[in-house]
Symmetry: C2
């Protein structure tokens, strides 16, 4: 079997943990698998580097930040390779560019455009364990570009797709994918399997166990994912094409996301092209817009509300000042004190009462809903941030996600 | 003017110092120069990384050490570029490979084989300041290889040669090249200029202000070096082809080196090919041998003594066990408690009494000489380590290097 294993930053935070990861990798190798390991930067390395950068430049360029931050993963791969080598296995570490990962030109949020597997295959054929730096690749300028938040997951999936790995194992500090955040709702149940689409919605909604881009990539290339604990050998959650059994489960999970800012542009002239101008300008600044709601309150003018990630707030505010002028809006507001809670389930599409049940759960907890957005397999609500915990617990109970029947269907 | 400026690790040890370097670079740029800056890793970064590596592998491979250590310079260039950017100048940081520096295959002690100036010239033509990571390049395997101890000097000189820079400025924590180590002999005089050959001998002899390989490279490509203080604007020491005036100076400097181990192989059969076998085996282990003395004590057997750097002791001891067997020597000894003191001067070759005067200086100080080695422009003696300070002072006095007449000739 050819296995890609991905370990996050906390799994390699210090030499003791690096040795533990090395042991796990070596075990897989000795059990007969070919192994490619993808690792992130050690623990707080990235934060430390960012803090240092900010001492020198309040607004460092993305290109230089990528140059700086990519060293974190490079340190990890070298150290992990040394640990594996000391256990007597053949091993070689590779940076993203050395592993053949090419990206587009966008710094700090680069997209993987392709993987040249020549070197990967050559090293694998020499019976080596490959240790690849996550989160990075080479862009068309020959520069190092990073893949943005959680990019290491994407690296692992992209490599698994490129070399036709049998499975891509994502090691985390939890046992797998849960019906809800187990830190928030202790009775949350682990799912044995979940579809790409459900995982995608959960991931997009702030269930941080897997990056949405990585799930998308996996779905696109049909890469089987296995989300499992780095602390034990228990089977975790398999993410793959949905089977019929899972479809019967109405709601497979509840997610919440605190990394949200709600923005609203009000009294926008009711003319064609306004929304296009607004969201194109934000896209040009690399601001990812999530939920969008346009409401016609009065004649001739609209309000447009949308949500973005906290990280993009500074960039969005800059862009909004310009946009406000250009499109003749009266003003705009933003609110960081919000959270998004969501339910996800492939069975939702054929059960119209699901959204209503969620709203009822929120009403039961006396929680006001500020924005609503739905898709075929999810319902998301924006609420006040300090009500997120209550909301998730109430929804989890409402759908009996900790109940015996559903748990058996889910686990 | 096109200037290459090189700053060592202590010059970029923290954000404050990085800002100081950035200011100096920006000043040169604003004065009308095109500037390429070469920097080393911040302060203790390299030592910290080595310590971490040793926790994971008592004998990490050179390849993985290079992967690890090269991150140190990458961090420095990104941070320095950010600092320069914040001062409003256009700037781009480059790793060794990105700067087009290619090396041979030897990890940890790679030699620069060439510089592809395509990117350097393109970025320079866009009026940018270039910040290049010292100490590293890309080897034929596509891996990162480091240039070994003080490799950043070599990077700076190689870049200066490749882009035909007018001068390569080496910034240090001293004012320039001295007749002697000023920390040891307070009356040591700064030299205004010195020839490549003299600098080469001084550098080889442990005067750490410049790496010998860098001086060799500079001599080969006639790169003018300017060794100067990073703390002030005083002119330092120019290293270039020797003029007639300097030749008249008998001895231009006294150097000492504590990083020495004396090894001796005794009762070696007096046969052809013995020395070849010994030194080829050491070379194969990448052990650099410095002084070599073979003495015929008795009929049919010889003693062979030589010196190596402390760093290479472990590798040398391993090799020596094998060599002893193979060439049928009776045994070998080594002594780390030694130092090398040397005098250097282009005028020496035509003045036969110079070596004698040095031996006299040592005799005056009651210092026993263990080994002697001479070249056209230097004389080196191995003595006991704790006598090094006395030796240097005595020699410095003997040649009146702090005297008024010589000082005026020298400075």
């Amino acid at each position: 079997m050819l296995v890609v294993q991905k370990f996050g930053g906390s799994s390699v935070a210090n030499p003791e943990r690096i040795i533990r990861v090395a042991k796990r990798v070596v075990e897989a190798k000795r059990a007969g698998d070919n192994v490619i390991v993808v690792v992130s930067a050690m623990g707080d390395t990235t934060d430390d580097l960012i803090a240092m950068a900010n001492q020198l430049n309040v607004n460092p360029s993305d290109r230089e930040m990528d140059m700086l931050l990519s060293t974190g993963e490079q340190v990890s791969v070298a150290l992990l390779a040394m640990a594996i080598d000391s256990m007597g296995e053949k091993v070689v570490s590779l940076t993203g560019p050395q592993a053949g990962i090419s990206t587009n030109e966008v710094y700090s949020k680069a997209k993987i455009m392709g993987v040249d597997t020549e070197r990967l295959e050559r090293e694998l054929s020499q019976d080596k364990i490959l240790v690849v730096a996550g989160f990075q690749g080479r862009n068309p300028k020959g520069d190092i570009a990073t893949l943005g938040r959680g990019g290491s997951d994407t690296t692992a999936v992209a490599l698994a797709a490129a070399v036709n790995a049998d499975v891509c194992e994502i090691f985390t500090d939890v046992e797998g994918v849960y019906t809800c955040d187990p830190r928030l709702v202790p009775r949350a149940q682990k799912l044995n399997s979940i579809s790409y689409d459900e995982m995608l919605e959960l991931a997009s909604l702030g269930a941080v166990v897997l990056q949405p881009r990585a799930v998308e990539f996996a779905k696109q290339h049909q890469v089987k994912l296995h989300v499992r604990s780095s602390f034990n050998k228990n089977p975790g959650t398999i993410v793959q094409e949905v089977g019929s059994m899972e479809k019967e489960m109405l709601v497979s999970g509840v997610a919440h996301d605190l990394n949200v800012v709600k923005m609203a542009l009000f009294d926008v002239p009711d003319q064609p092209g306004i929304a296009q101008k607004l969201f194109c300008t934000l896209a040009a600044q690399n601001v990812n817009v999530d939920m969008i709601i346009q409401s016609a309150n009065r004649k001739d003018v609209n309000d447009i509300s949308f949500t973005i990630a906290q990280d993009d707030l500074a960039k969005a505010l800059q862009a909004m000042e310009k946009i406000k002028e250009e499109i003749g809006a009266k003003g705009f507001t933003y609110d960081s004190n919000v959270a998004k809670v969501s339910i996800v389930g492939a069975g939702m599409v054929s059960n119209p009462g699901v959204a209503a049940a969620m709203f009822e759960a929120l009403a039961d907890a006396a929680i006001n809903i500020q924005m609503i957005s739905t898709s075929e397999i999810k319902v998301s609500c924006i609420i006040k941030q300090d009500e997120a915990h209550n909301a998730v617990t109430s929804i989890h109970n409402k759908f009996d996600l900790d109940g015996a029947e559903e748990a058996s269907a889910a686990c």
